[in-house]
Structure formats: C-alpha cells, structure tokens
Amino acid sequence: MSDKKHIDRLFQEKLKDFEVSPDDAVWDNIHDRLHNDKRKRRVLPIWWKVAGVAAIIALLLTVGINFFSNDSAIDNDNIIVDTENSSSGKSNTSIDENSTESQINSEEKGNSSKVANEEIDSNSESNFDEDGSNSNDFNRNRKYSNPKNSPQSSNTSVADNSNKNSNLKKNSETSDGLNVSSQKERFNSTTDAVTNSSKSNQELNNSENQKIDKAETDKLIKGLKNNPNSAVTNNASETSVESSSEEEKKENKDTQSIEDAIAEANNGEEEKDEKEKKLNRWNISPNVAPVYFNSLGKGSAIDQQFVDNTKQSEITMSYGVGGSYAINDRLKVRTGINKVDMGYRTNNVIAFGSIDLASNARVQMANVSMTASAENTAYMSTETLNTNASPEIINSKSKGSLDQRFGFIEVPLEVEYALVNKRFGINVIGGFSTLFVDENEIYSVVDGVQTRIGEANNINSMSYSANFGLGINYNVSEKIKVNVEPTFKYQINTFNNSSGDFQPYFIGIYTGLSYKF
C-alpha cells in the first residue's frame, strides 16, 4: 500500500538527505582561482622587494667602502711618509713633521732657518763677489726646486738634500777655489742642524701623531702641505746657492740628475698608489652552458591528460655574455644577457586523425595552438587509456611523444659573494632573471618522424626565475679567470595555465672565461 502525498513533500523528503560529492577537480579549480591571481600579483612585488633590498645593500656597501677606503688612504699616506723618514734617516721635512705642534715646528724651523740664513748670507756674499751670474743660478735653482717639491714634498726634500749633499761634496773636491773649506764646514753644520731638527721632529711626530685626531691631521695636512715646501726650498736654495759658486755646467748636470731621481721616486710612488687603490672592478665574461629542464612537481604544460606521462629533458644550450662590478674584493653585482633554449619530451602519446574518432573536446590539447596542417590530428595520452575498453584503432597506434621547445632571452641580475678568494676561488651566487620568450614550438614525434604541430599558448611573454648557483673559478693570470658555475633556476610565472603541479626549473652548468679590467 502506498499513502498519497503532496508532490512537494515527496520531493522534500526524498531529497532531504541527498548528498553527492563533486569531483576533486572542482576543488583544484576553486583553489587555483582563489590563489592563482594572488600568486601572479605577488610575483612582481616580491622581486621588487628583493631588488630593493639588494640595491640598499649595494648602496650601503659602496658608501661604506668609499668611506673606509678614504680613511685608509690617509693612513697609508702617513705610513708611507713615516717609513721613508726612517729609512732615509736623513734630513727629511715632511707632512708629518709639520703636523706636529706648531711650537715645536717653529722652534725647529727657527733653528734650521737661522743656520740656513747664515749660510745664505755668507754664500750670497761670496757668490756675488765672485760672479754676478750666480744670482741667476740661484733663481734658476729655485725655479727647479719649486715644481719638484710640489707633488711629493717629502720625497723631493729627501732627494734635494741628499743629492745636494753629494753634489756639494763633489763640488768642493773638484774646485780648488776660495772658501772651499769654509763652505764645507758651513755646509756640514747646516746639514747637521737640519738632520738634527728633522730627527727630533720625527721623534716628536711619532709621539704627537698618535695624539692628534684624524680631523686635525686632515686640516693640518692641507694647511701644511705648503709649509714644508717653503722650508725645503729654503734648504734647497741654500745648498744650491752654495753649490752655485762652483762650475755652472756641473751644476746643470747635477740638477738634471736630481730631477731624474725625483722623477723616478715620484713614479715609483704613483705606481704603488695605483696598485693599492685600483682594484680591477669591472669584469666581462662570455659563457656557455648545457641546460637541463624539468619540473619539480608532476604536471604538464600542455594538457591535463599528460600530467602523469613521463617527461624527459633534452639537453639544450645557453650562451651569452655577462658583466660584473666588484663592490669589494668579495662581493660582485652582475648582469648580462643570455640566450637559453629549453626542451622536454612528453612520452607515451598517441596521434590519430580526428576522423578516426568523433571530434571530442577531450582530445584537444588545452594549451596548444595548432598549426593549420596539424588541426585534424588529435593527441592522447596512453596513460589514461584503458587498453581493454578503448577501440581497436587506438590500441593499434604506436606510441610517440610530444616535444615542447621554448627559448628565452635571459637577463639576470645577481649578486656573487666569494667564499674563497685565492688563486682558486669558490663563490655563491643568488639573484633573479627576467626571461623574454623568443621561441615556442611543439613537435610530435611518431615513428621517428618529427612534425611541428603548433605552439603553446600558455607561455607568458615575460617571466622570471630565481637563481641559486655555486661558482668555482681559477685565476689563470692577473686578468683572466676560468669559471664553472652550476646554477639552479626556478622559473616563476612562465606558464599562465598548466595542469597538475608543473613547476618548471632549469639547471645550467655555466662555463666561461672572465676578463678583468
């Protein structure tokens, strides 16, 4: 028996507890729609952040290094001057001496200048007595000594004094003229006085220098750079005045030799400075790399049905040129431009003319724009086919594969940090690349015949990769290095629609030479 019921109630009761689970794919799609947008939007900001941080670090380092290198340059100058003073051990008037307290300087200067003045007085008297042209010589010598003194005051003073000493000795030996003995005596006394004063200056310097602030030294150095010159020129002029009492020709030769000596000394100094200051910051390195492409997860960039198919990478090539700038001896910022090709093969695919099978949405590949000639061909994964249930016509097909190839122009921006910085170096590399698509093809390979069937329509024209690498290099010479850099590049935003968990990456063994300049 059955009781009569209102039709609405019948439906209500029957359907009350009716529940059906939807396909898992529904959730996947929902998840993708909720989080894909977010991921896409995130890509840029993350890189902006990373790039921003990198830029700030680079900026701080540059500023910091410049700051410290300026300090060290001052320190170096002081050290150089000090060592010269101690090594020459003779009558040096230098920046350092003058950076001591003015009292000491003035005292010492006073002493030496008194002596010098006496000398000049006596000499000038005798010189003028002997020959009127001596005054010209005096002037000429002065002229010579001024430019000499200007670039490296300490050096010229050394050269001047030491050379003049010997010159005068020579002169006094060769000449049997008047005032020889007295000149000798006087001159000795002057040099003694000068050496004494400078020695005492040095001693004072060493103790005083430590007390003096950097800022003070800076000021003093600037202010006093001129002072030693005057002091030195005084000395030089004294001695030249004395020597000028001797033969003019010899004088000229001597001054020339002095000039040479000064020039040499200056050159040597400059070269030293250059070596110390000029780190070869720029670097250019052509490179070539075998590239292996794969996906971290199981997925397909071509179609849902190929998610489970085995994929194998083709070994392709990347080549290009990079440049780097050394922020310091360990850290480099680098960029460049590379052409990189990638390819992989999706196995276990069968191809058949769509006439074989009524046109079915299932056999169209989601992410492929087919060429006109390939439009009538359909491709299916044999992984998803049930061999028993599928028609004979499909089972009889031989298995082929789909080869997807794409190429990018890669512009990396990376930071390289040297862990080991010897003849043999090890460094770590991190950064990112921007990839611009310049090649995009899909081929089918059936029975060994390769046919271009179209191109992927889901590759973004611009995408990114996060790069991590380990570099090993060997210095062949000062300027040339051989590099090998295995680098892992995780691609971001390459495909705008891929099936399964397709997370493409590529590994390249970047090999090349780098040239410093």
Binding site: D8, Q12, F18, E19, H31
Partner: protein, 180 residues
C-alpha cells in the same frame, strides 16, 4: 578548529581553512547545485563559481544566522545568475494556470530519478519549483529574484508539478509493466 575559527582563517584567504570548509559543505552544496542545474557538468561549474564567490565574499559574512544558509543562498544565487544573464526567462510563452494540489503515491522512487526529472524541467519551471517547493521561498521572493510576476511564479510552479507528476506516473507504469 571550530567553524568560527575556520571562517576567520578563510577571511585571511588561508588555503587550508578554505579546503576544510569546502570538505565540510561541498556535498551539500553540490546536491543543491544539481537540483538547480540541467546536468552534472553544469552543477559542477555552478558549485565552483559558488565557492569562489563564498571565499571571496566571506568577509561579508558577519556570523549572523547560519553559515550554511548563507552559503546556500550564494549557491542558489549563482545558479539563478547564470540564467538571468542568459535571459532564458522570457522564452517560454506564458499561459497562466491555476495552482492545483497534486498528490502522488509515496512509492519507492529512486532519488536519482527524482533528480533527473527535476533537471529535465524547463529552466524556469525548475528554478521556481526548487525555490518554492524545496527551499521554502515565497512567491513574492521568487518573483523578485527571477524578475517575474508573482502570478508567473505560481503558474510556473503548477506546471512544474504537473510535469513531474506525469513523469513519475509514467515511470511507475513502465516499471510496473516491466515487473509483470
């Protein structure tokens, strides 16, 4: 984790919490979608759209009233939206009929068959029948939702009932004849 906590997490677009909510309600909302749709595929599409809307608008849910009811309304609205945009509501020529009380034997009719005949109803009959008979909306509400008159709603409901009754009786007749 309680439902409130899950909802809070969902408001932060937390994928795990979204997955939990989905697991809890997917089958209920899917059966709802099935009744409002023509077929299984359309129901899946509708469910998908509904959940995307639910998660995107979850911050508008203010813990007033049942969360399930809120999600059901979104699911139903999603289904209606689809037809509204397609503009099917004006296709059927209108001839008002009287609301009649249709009674039917409560036999063992499979729920699958009932679902099938609901899905086979013309779009608006199906929507009106679902809204009125199964989900308890008034004719006034239905008229507003579908942008039709109350009379049309009533008429559509009556027609839907007649069609369903015919189909059930036909089904019974054929199964009886088979069993004899």
């Amino acid at each position: 984790m309680s439902l409130e906590q899950l909802i809070e997490q969902c408001k932060k677009n937390d994928a795990k919490a979204q997955s939990q909510i989905y697991k809890l309600y997917a089958s209920k909302l899917f059966s709802l979608s099935l009744k409002y749709s023509k077929n299984y595929a359309e129901a899946q599409d509708n469910l998908q759209d509904a959940f995307v809307t639910i998660f995107k608008k979850i911050d508008q849910y203010e813990n007033k009233g049942s969360f399930e009811g809120w999600m059901k309304r979104i699911t139903i609205n999603t289904a209606l939206q689809q037809y509204r945009s397609v503009g099917v509501f004006d296709i059927i020529g209108e001839e008002q009929i009287e609301d009649v009380s249709i009674e039917i034997d409560n036999d063992n009719i499979g729920v699958d068959y009932l679902l099938k005949i609901i899905q086979e109803l013309p779009d608006r009959y199906r929507l009106v029948f679902n809204l009125y008979a199964l989900d308890g909306y008034s004719h006034q509400e239905i008229a507003d939702m579908l942008e039709i008159s109350i009379g049309t709603s009533k008429s559509n409901l009556a027609r839907a009932r007649l069609i369903l009754k015919e189909k059930i009786e036909h089904y019974k007749a054929s199964s009886n004849s088979q069993s004899l």
